[in-house]
Symmetry: C2
Subunit: 139 residues, 2 copies
């Protein structure tokens, strides 16, 4: 594994570590100030502060005791200082808005990262749930 692949992979794994500590200050620092993030239901957050506030809310409620496990991190470099990192994830321990336990969820997270003088920073994320056995959205 090249140094650059290892560095980018570490950022993606740190995303899950911060999630699992529910440390949204550390989580937010993974993102560039003007980063954007689309979550699994198509909420489109613009800027690190919006990303942080949205995750603070969910980690005080439905994701309070959740655990995110990331695997199969795939990293590509279209140019030297930009990385496209895609990974599979499993989420456990989350609850409904009413507090009921929910089944394990699986998904795919895309992160686009840019190299800065102090390391790789996420500039864009988009997340998609995996719906098993479907070619497109069941309705």
């Amino acid at each position: 594994m090249s140094d650059a692949v290892a560095e980018v992979t570490q950022v993606v794994l740190t995303f899950a570590e911060c999630w699992n500590r529910h440390d949204m200050n550390a989580f937010a620092k993974l993102f560039a100030p003007d980063a954007e993030f689309v979550n699994v239901v198509g909420l489109w957050w613009k800027g690190r502060e919006e990303i942080k506030k949205a995750h603070e809310f969910t980690h005080a409620t439905m994701f309070k005791n959740s655990r995110l496990t990331i695997s199969d991190v795939s990293v590509r470099f279209p140019v030297a200082d930009i990385a496209i990192a895609r990974a599979r994830w499993v989420l456990e321990g989350h609850v409904s808005p009413e507090g009921s336990p929910l089944p394990v969820r699986h998904g795919i997270l895309l992160n686009v990262l840019a190299k800065t003088p102090i390391g790789w920073s996420i500039i864009d994320s988009q997340n998609t749930d995996i719906i098993e056995g479907a070619l497109s959205r069941p309705q």
Copy 2:
């Protein structure tokens, strides 16, 4: 609008034009040979040929008479020759695997594009359905 923004926006709009003509040869040409694509249910296609075959199948079946309308194209350039383009979309006229009409769908499509000597090429796409009124996936 700068020339580069207009060029990238045109590629994103052409994605919908090819979709609506159900012309998967032209659709596939928007993508780089090693492009990747994650669709709304987390199917992860690797390479232009996989992307083409998957869309040929759905456009012979559930998307045969569907119409995709793209709006709110937002383009950013983390470096000069890479673009991050995000857009909202509406899909109408699609049917279930059994052929029954389905309700209108809304979503958000992310495309990462690279500038080549012959224009901008999509190197990565990830698509997410919008689920109204939810903070995360209802289950």
